[in-house]
Point group: C2
Chain length 233, copies 2
């Protein structure tokens, strides 16, 4: 049975930029589970009523509804133990859980000035109004100010610094999982897909271990992420 | 054969507070390798001449001399593959390498105001003069200013924030290695031993997953770290 995933999109249905949805989609690709992405917009909260909350990703797997990308990853490993593991043992689970909170608390910071205004630019009018009001209130400044050229230059410098542990980890092997990708790879990769899909500029302009790894992740699972539309494609 | 490790100490030989030496010592305990700690002071660089550099830890294992805690961990796993692995596979190696650079770039920041002046207070006069001059030059301010009560309060708040990924990882099991400790545990633990040994106040004042884990690490390997002298013991 095909799993359905509510997947955040722009006014163009095919533009899918949610970092959390990317984590969940790469997880389903990894496990070889067929799924269908249902285009969903920020203001369509009533469509998620059955999930008991208002954010994506939400997956519908037969009569099971699961929300929150971390919970979805746990659900997939528990429900489909015969498929390739996202987290094969407790070390993998602890390491991925570290990366999940590290990405949310540390990696998002320098990505936000690269992504926020670019997200706003791809939204349909109703979502765009909601997004601008809610984000400007949260940030305490206008989207233009938050994503100024100067802020973006500073963010790129901060991003290189924040990614130093990832750069170092990739000395051990081609993936954060070592010789093969695991859920930790998809957490960091999915987060980087946020600016990658919406920004007019590529996230990585220069070669590095991280940039090469990002390229490898784009190509995984039949180029699932490589073939996804971006504003540059 | 007993491995020797040059181990940073205060004017009291038994006070051992180097975060990098703690990483290496916990690694040797984990592998069940007997070792002898040679008290060493900052200004005794000539004693490390054979290592080709001026910092501890340096271990002497027969005719092999290895410096840098990360290189020591790799050396121990390579040289003693029949002893318990510090990093059993490439996922463990990648995850530990991430933590190594994360600890050095991120965790050190909020620990420094808790540790730096306290280190100065336990050094012998010659080391104390070197330490104060070199650190004040690096920090661009006096040790008193860098470690003021206000700076320490701010550092404790920042430490809670920085440790959020560790707190989350420990949902998966009692150790960062999951069900059992691995080198990643010793990296983070060793780093926290820096303020723990020299500070008049404990690092953790309230119960948390991290505080409970720190307690477990103190007790590991026959209480090797628990039994090490601190300024409070």
């Amino acid at each position: 049975m095909t799993i359905q995933i509510y997947d955040l999109c722009g006014r163009d249905d095919s533009l899918r930029f949610s970092p959390y949805c990317w984590r969940a989609k790469m997880a389903m690709h990894h496990k070889g589970l067929p799924f269908e992405g249902l285009p969903w917009r920020f203001t369509e909260t009533e469509r998620l009523a059955e999930s008991g909350q208002q954010r994506v990703p939400v997956i519908v797997d037969g009569d099971r509804i699961v929300s929150d990308s971390w919970q979805i990853a746990l659900y997939l490993d528990e429900t489909y133990p015969d498929k390739p593991a996202l987290m094969a043992d407790t070390l993998a689970k602890a390491s991925a859980r570290f990366l999940n909170v590290w990405a949310d608390t540390t990696l998002f910071g320098p990505l936000a000035p690269l992504a926020v205004k670019a997200v706003h630019a791809v939204l349909d009018p109703k979502d765009a109004a909601y997004f601008q009001e809610s984000r400007e209130k949260r940030l305490g400044k206008s989207l233009d100010e938050f994503c100024s050229d100067g802020a973006q230059a500073g963010a790129r410098a901060a991003l290189r610094q924040v990614l130093r542990p990832v750069e170092a980890a990739l000395e051990a092997g081609p993936f954060l999982g070592g010789n093969a990708p695991y859920y930790g790879d998809y957490i960091v990769f999915g987060t980087l897909m946020w600016p990658n899909v919406v920004s007019p500029k590529p996230v990585f302009k220069e070669s590095s271990r991280v940039a090469d790894w990002f390229d490898r992740l784009l190509d995984l699972h039949g180029g699932a992420a490589r073939n996804a539309p971006t504003v540059r494609s």
